[in-house]
Symmetry: C2
């Protein structure tokens, strides 16, 4: 059986480079690593990337504290201290003992590159592979570290260069520019306003499902009918005249921009 076996497992095209000499093979390994690092610009391990993204998510331009990162990545504080030191050595963060780490320019670029990948991949999974919200994030969390720049740009093209992912988060450009977002949670709107949903928080899957079923997705235009102070419920009317009563947690998760 198994007569048919190509697809050589060797990392490059080099099939069994040396036959018996021994030395050249070792050199190849380190030279290859060095070239990959500088030229292909993809040296980051999964961990490194996740730490950088975590700092960006937690602190943006500011400093992320050890414990925040520790909580975010479900990793022991001591591990974080260790990694922050290493990230500084690598030039991705500025780190001050006991006062957290903030991203350098390079760290910031790297974070945005990962976010770009993550959001493009999520878009692809949802729109073309029939993924559910449940499945999407975990897959993207792994693939973002495995795909190349070439893949990323080809995928963006395949998707029609979307500016936002399916739940409305902006996708950073190849150049690392992230659309600023001035939208506010529905809960902060005022009765009578006409608004357009810009984003739905992807933190809760059930909410995404609930809102998706009702058509309360980015792009939808709503009229705010009532903001009830007693219980925080917001009543909105959609373009088809449908009325929706949204409780506190929901109106914190739906972001909208005023229009008209």
């Amino acid at each position: 059986m198994a007569l048919n076996q190509s697809d050589s497992g060797s990392p490059e095209g080099s099939p069994a480079a040396s036959s018996s000499i021994g030395k050249p093979l070792m050199l190849n390994a380190s030279i290859r690593r060095a070239m990959t690092d500088s030229a292909q610009a993809h040296p980051l391990s999964v961990s490194t990337g996740d730490y950088i993204k975590a700092i960006w998510t937690i602190a943006g331009d500011g400093a992320a504290l050890t414990k925040e990162v520790s909580g975010h990545l479900a990793v022991a504080p001591a591990s974080v201290t260790n990694m922050l030191g290493r990230l500084q050595t690598m030039g991705f963060v500025e780190y001050e003992r006991y006062h957290g780490a903030s991203l350098t320019e390079r760290g910031h670029e790297e974070a945005l590159r990962l976010v770009r990948r993550h959001r493009l991949i999520e878009t692809f999974l949802l729109e073309h592979l029939g993924y559910t919200w449940e499945e999407v994030h975990d897959e993207a969390e792994k693939l973002e570290h495995a795909v190349s720049d070439v893949f990323t740009e080809r995928l963006s093209e395949f998707l029609g260069h979307p500016g936002h992912d399916p739940h409305g988060d902006p996708i950073p450009t190849r150049e690392g520019i992230l659309q600023p977002d001035d939208s506010k949670p529905l809960g902060e709107a005022e009765a009578g306003q006409k608004v357009r949903i810009s984003k739905v928080s992807d933190e809760s899957i059930p909410m995404l499902d609930y809102l998706g079923e009702r058509g309360l997705v980015p792009g939808r235009v709503l009229t705010v009918r009532e903001i009830r102070d007693i219980d925080g419920v917001v009543v909105v009317e959609d373009a088809d005249g449908g009325i929706h009563h949204l409780g506190g947690p929901l109106v914190k998760s739906v972001f909208a921009q005023r229009i008209g």
Copy 2:
């Protein structure tokens, strides 16, 4: 800037599981790993997978020798010895010192799972993302370790459940069945025979390009006009009457089946 940050970097949906206790966090980490390993059945590291695939590629059902694996993966022989021992402990190979390693049933399954992924991914990259032959293999070599079973099956569906990748290698089924292939290199054909190209070796990119440009791809029907013993050149005529003179290396790379 960077106002907009969702896409929590935390591996699962658990956003900052613990606030200050400390202990539960550690437990979470190991429990998660254990569950992932057994339930999701995706525990293999990149290295582990590449070794298993290498053994399959080199030896199929037989035993792969240390040096063969070492050459294939561009890794020192001592590293191979070490990993083969570990693979045996993990149950993927049967290993005898000085006599190489052969895949167990489980190892075989794992190899085919990776090959399935690899070939489906290559198909997608070529047919939908506009990759060239040059780019395709390296990307697949990395992604095969990152995609989930769900991704693999959704992708297969997206592609229309192809049985072969673009250069003709059969794609193992989800159940781990690999189409046996009884085709032979064009060089072993006989003058006058009518044959159908079944596969083109993907070991040489220039050859793939050359053959691709001339339409000598899997599925094409040819009539063998001449087998010249002196220089090993094979002359074939394609369905449009085009004549092709293929030298030794090429006729070893093009596989065909007799028809008619």
